[in-house]
Symmetry: C2
């Protein structure tokens, strides 16, 4: 005997499945089987879910036509919620206790906090929602959780570029690049197996200084005949004015530490396209 579901119950479960699979097309047959219900019933359920999430700017539910069609959930966040989150994050990071030797701001705890990273990732992912990409790419280590979460929300695979080469990666391609700020030569590598030729990527990282790493990623991807369509960072060091890369998005501008030891951080002033 099949379990029966009423509309309320189906709506809860459909919402769960959609939220768990952002930007993945889910065929309605999955739901008709799951609930032992007619396609027309499921379609009505989905209309309700779409309207509900839409009302609170919690994301879009789009219908994809065709044989491999179905519905997909596109994460969103309201501009008020986004603003509130970024303001709050600035306040957290301004804490003078975070200043460490060398005038760095300790922010590792923020970068590894799922509560913060999932919110930052929705804001960043929603800026790239219109792009057709194959991968999100980042470089180890601190930006990995953010990049992973953005990849998940965009429904694509993550690529992590390594600073070293590992036997478990198989054949790799390594490039040398000059870090924009310290002018040191560094190496980054990616497995030949990791990426298909002709891929389109977005680069996600925690922090942008001069953009040397971002530039390195662009050059590394050229070796794979692939390209970077967009870039996003959590924090942009605007004290480094000459950037090696073009357009990118950021959530927070870091304006340095003033003579009184105050950390200057503001929501990003860049105009995002």
């Amino acid at each position: 005997m099949k379990i029966k579901f009423n509309r309320n119950q189906r709506i809860s479960c459909i919402t769960k499945v959609l939220i768990d699979n952002p930007n993945k097309i889910i065929n309605l047959n999955n739901f008709t089987k799951m609930f032992n219900a007619a396609k027309s019933t499921i379609s009505e359920d989905i209309v309700i879910v779409r309207e509900a999430l839409n009302k609170l700017c919690m994301g879009k539910v789009e219908t994809v036509a065709g044989a491999s069609g179905g519905v997909k959930y596109i994460p969103q966040i309201s501009s008020e919620e986004s603003k509130e989150f970024v303001d709050e994050l600035c306040e957290i990071l301004k804490n003078p206790m975070r200043i460490i030797v060398g005038n760095f701001i300790y922010m590792t705890d923020i970068l590894y906090d799922p509560y913060i990273i999932t919110r930052a990732a929705v804001i960043i992912a929603s800026k790239f929602a219109e792009l057709e990409i194959d991968y999100v790419i980042t470089v180890e280590t601190k930006g990995i959780p953010l990049a992973f979460e953005v990849a998940k929300l965009l429904g694509v695979q993550l690529l992590i570029v390594r600073r070293d080469t590992k036997v478990t990666e198989g054949t790799t391609i390594s490039i040398n690049y000059i870090s924009g700020s310290s002018k040191r030569i560094q190496t980054m590598s990616l497995s030949k197996r990791a990426i298909k030729k002709g891929s389109k990527c977005i680069f996600i990282d925690d922090f942008m200084k001069a953009g040397g790493t971002a530039n390195g990623i662009i050059n590394l991807l050229k070796e794979f005949e692939s390209e970077v369509l967009g870039m996003g960072v959590l924090i942009d060091d605007v004290t480094t004015q000459h950037k090696l890369v073009g357009e990118y998005i950021s959530l927070i501008d870091f304006k340095g530490i003033d003579e009184n030891g105050r950390v200057e951080l503001v929501p990003s002033q860049k105009k995002h396209p």
Copy 2:
């Protein structure tokens, strides 16, 4: 004028909020404000969500009493779905094209695939749901997405132990450890700011060979007067029979590559407590 929500719509949005905040207590006032509805109405909505998710083993919704009380969502996966996922993952990893020089299995793509990692993480997190922990800890790099996702599902912060020391970490404590398989001396370090004394952690990683890394983590945490309450890995190399650590969970047993070049992988045979 406040937007009105009917029950169906509230249920969709409540499900969304719960799923997005696993193991976090959400006060009912959040929902009464969000929907401009009475607490009794919200309580009824939550009962429906609980029953719906419960029917399909999609997770538990628990009520937490007291002043700071509310509801929280505890992720779950049905044993059939879990079995199906692990079987499928074994098949993917058995592909002989994955064998790389040195008789390693290339699995980086799997470890950075959000679709796979989120499912593996639910299975692993649900084994540790009863533990009261402060952190999920891992070591860079390949296990980070899995560990991050487990941390998110358990509602705690992630810690990433580094192989090197970075100026952006402030003061760090480093230990040397001997990798159980290669017998090489290696270093791992953690920022003093990263963790509170007396913390309880679980260690999550992608692969366990002899357990040298896991053992190193246990010793590193001792320096912070903290302890490992549990360990979980995606794949256990059972060809290395002598393990340096005690109890741990794993999803897949790697039994080596046979003389015909077949990769032997099976769902983990360990009895999980």
